[in-house]
């Protein structure tokens, strides 16, 4: 290279310096814009995190978490309620069926009583006839005839009344048996249905509840990840300061090289030495510019990753869970209403059975009265028969017929006693029966429903809390969606910045080409310049103004001909040393 030969390269170098200054200015402007955008985005993510936290807090509220166990308890209480009634109804059906047999026995007893009443009636007629035949002697027996007649009438009336009640009772039992027989399978079906439905409800509620509790947490985690990435962008923005200084020092170095090339050397050897230094210096600047490109690429990538992360944050799942939970709440609420309806039906059902049993109790009362009357009749008959026998004996042979009648009365009296005993037995059996059915009816008492009522009330309260939490979550989800939308809009702005920064690469490449070309010119024109020079002197010359460790490492790599140190951008940021 002649004394003037360096001068044609001064202009490209000056142009390169100008270009780097322009890149620095443009980049600074864009970086400031990115910083503002991410500052705002950071506020948005804080807002999202707070909103998600409020949803999580409402879900974790004890009242809301208690929904599932309450529904489970309700299901168990409903099942127990129906099972009790099913068991009781089945028992009552059996009892009512057994009652038919008891009533049958009673009918037999009543029929016998009817027959006895007829016998007494016949005896009464006979006694009248005989008394009339005996004339004056038979006057005392008229009384016997009238008594027998009265007894017969009274017995016939009572017996007929009892028979009527018994028959009526049989008819009522028939109706009840049909009704209960129809009810039982329906109740069984209802029990199975309740079991299945409540089981389904629990499973669905469990699933939606898990989603309700896990979705906001997942959302919060994803937003927290974004918050971390934004922190990385904040670090990248700071790191630009290093890159800016690096660029400035490359500009300074190129300006220095241009100055050296434009100055006249004192001698050829001085020029030769200068060219070696210039060659080394150019190689250093190439290394520095490539390092700058790598750093830019690194934090542009960080910005893009963060942007993609923000765009991927979807609030749709968060928005979707509240309607799901509200649907489930409505399902379970309608389940409670269904159970209440079953309870009402059961009360109507139990009222019917109570009426039926009341009928039995009044029958028992009637039998009791009848037995009392029978005992009275028995005593009277006994007395009559004794009187008749005494009277008949006093008349001697004239009252043989009367005597026979009196003996008949004794027999009838014995028969009546036996029949009264049978009535007593029947009544005892029926009383036992009444006791058993009363015990079974316990299952339909109000106290047995208390557990179910408590479970229903507690479930309603829990569902109310769940509904409130879901409504709250829905409201917060709307805010989350709006905040998400705002962030996406901001991201669009940042995207444009990223594109502008991308274009810097092309501009840096253009500067690199210029420097590379100059380097090649030196290689061709002055091969001796490539043989190396005093590395310490070169280092001192070009690193005097360096302010970052990165630049020093890159310079050393350039002088040693080793690879450019990898851009070790720590987006976590450096720690603080306190003195």
């Amino acid at each position: 290279m002649s004394d003037d030969s360096g001068k044609p390269f001064v202009h490209p170098l000056e142009k390169a310096v100008g270009e780097l200054q322009s890149i620095a200015r443009t980049s600074q402007g864009e970086i400031d814009s990115v910083a503002k955008s991410f500052e705002s985005l950071s506020g948005d993510t804080d807002n999202l995190l707070n909103l998600a936290a409020t949803i999580i807090a409402s879900v974790e509220d004890e009242k809301v978490k208690g929904v599932l166990p309450k529904v489970q308890t309700l299901g168990e209480a409903a099942k127990s309620f129906i099972e009790d009634r099913l068991h009781a109804t089945s028992g009552i059906l059996q009892a009512v069926t057994a009652e038919v047999g008891l009533l049958q026995q009673l009918s037999v007893v009543t029929r016998i009583q009817g027959a006895i009443a007829l016998k007494i009636s016949a005896l009464s007629v006979l006694t009248k006839i005989e008394a009339a035949r005996l004339g004056k002697m038979g006057e005392g027996f008229q009384y016997l005839a009238c008594e027998l007649s009265d007894f017969s009438k009274s017995l016939t009336m009572d017996t007929q009344e009892l028979a009527r009640h018994t028959d009526s009772r049989k008819a009522s039992i028939q109706t009840t048996t049909w009704a209960l027989s129809a009810d039982l399978p329906r109740m069984q079906e209802e029990l199975t249905r309740i079991e299945d439905l409540v089981g389904e409800d629990l499973a669905l509620l469990n699933t939606s509840f898990q989603r309700f509790s896990s979705t906001p947490e997942r959302f919060r985690l994803s937003v927290r990840e974004i918050a971390g990435q934004i922190a990385g962008v904040v670090a990248a923005v700071q790191a630009y300061d290093i890159t800016r200084q690096q660029l400035e020092h490359v500009q300074d170095a190129l300006a220095m090289i241009a100055e050296k090339l434009s100055a006249d050397p004192n001698s050829d050897s001085e020029r030769s030495e200068e060219l070696s230094q210039i060659y080394a210096g150019l190689r250093i600047q190439i290394y520095q510019l490539n390092n700058i490109k790598a750093t830019l690429a690194s934090w542009i990538s960080q910005i893009r990753t963060c942007m993609a992360g923000i765009l991927n944050v979807s609030s749709s799942e968060v928005v979707g869970i509240s309607p799901l939970v509200l649907d489930q709440e409505r399902e379970v609420s309608s389940r409670i209403s269904h159970i209440e309806m079953l309870e009402t039906e059961s009360h109507a059902h139990s009222d019917k059975m109570r009426q039926t049993l009341a009928g039995l109790s009044s029958l028992v009362q009637l039998i009791g009265e009848h037995i009392q009357k029978s005992k009275t009749v028995l005593n009277r008959l006994h007395l009559l028969s004794l009187n008749s026998m005494i009277e008949a004996s006093s008349l001697g042979g004239h009252a043989d017929t009367i005597l026979a009648i009196a003996k008949n009365i004794v027999e009838i009296s014995a028969e009546w006693r036996e029949n009264t005993d049978q009535s007593g037995n029947a009544m005892r059996d029926i009383l036992k029966h009444v006791e058993q059915t009363n015990l079974l009816m316990e299952a339909f008492s109000n106290s047995r429903s208390d557990k179910l009522h408590t479970a229903q009330a507690q479930t309603r309260n829990a569902l109310h809390s769940l509904k409130a939490a879901a409504a709250f979550a829905a409201c917060q989800s709307e805010h989350i969606e709006s905040a998400n939308e705002r962030m996406r809009t901001k991201i669009a702005q940042v995207g444009k910045t990223g594109d502008l920064l991308d274009r810097s690469f092309g501009r840096i490449d253009a500067v690199l080409d210029e420097i590379e070309m100059l380097k090649q010119q030196i290689e061709i024109g002055h091969p001796a310049a490539t043989n190396g020079c005093d590395a310490d002197e070169v280092e001192h010359m070009f690193s005097a103004g360096y302010t970052t460790e990165v630049e020093r490492e890159v310079l050393r790599a350039a002088l040693n001909g080793t690879a450019i140190p990898m851009s070790q951008q720590s987006f976590a940021g450096n720690s603080i040393e306190l003195f």
Partner: protein
Amino acid sequence: MKQILTVDDSSSVRQMVSFTLRKAGYEVAEAVDGKDGLGKIGAGKFDLIITDLNMPTVDGIQLITAARKLQGYAFTPILMLTTESQAEKKDAGRKAGATGWIVKPFNGDQLVSVVQRLVK
């Protein structure tokens, strides 16, 4: 509310320091270089100062030295936030009166934690 001054000739760095510390509840004032910083220190009262090292006119070391002579600033925590990590620079900073040294980029959470500790 505690007042903090950040001094740096890079607007993006000032912005990030302000952003980080305002989120933590501090009031943050900004100075564009060492001369501006000294002016603000003299005019106001700050509980902590964060300054860059390499700035035109008045650099970080000069700022710390001058600030320590001002009334009320003998013990005020002053952190150096810089791209420099060489031992001799840190030594110079310590001798000038710096409380701590941070190599850019800083860790936001750590910065807040240290500031909270220093301005209690």
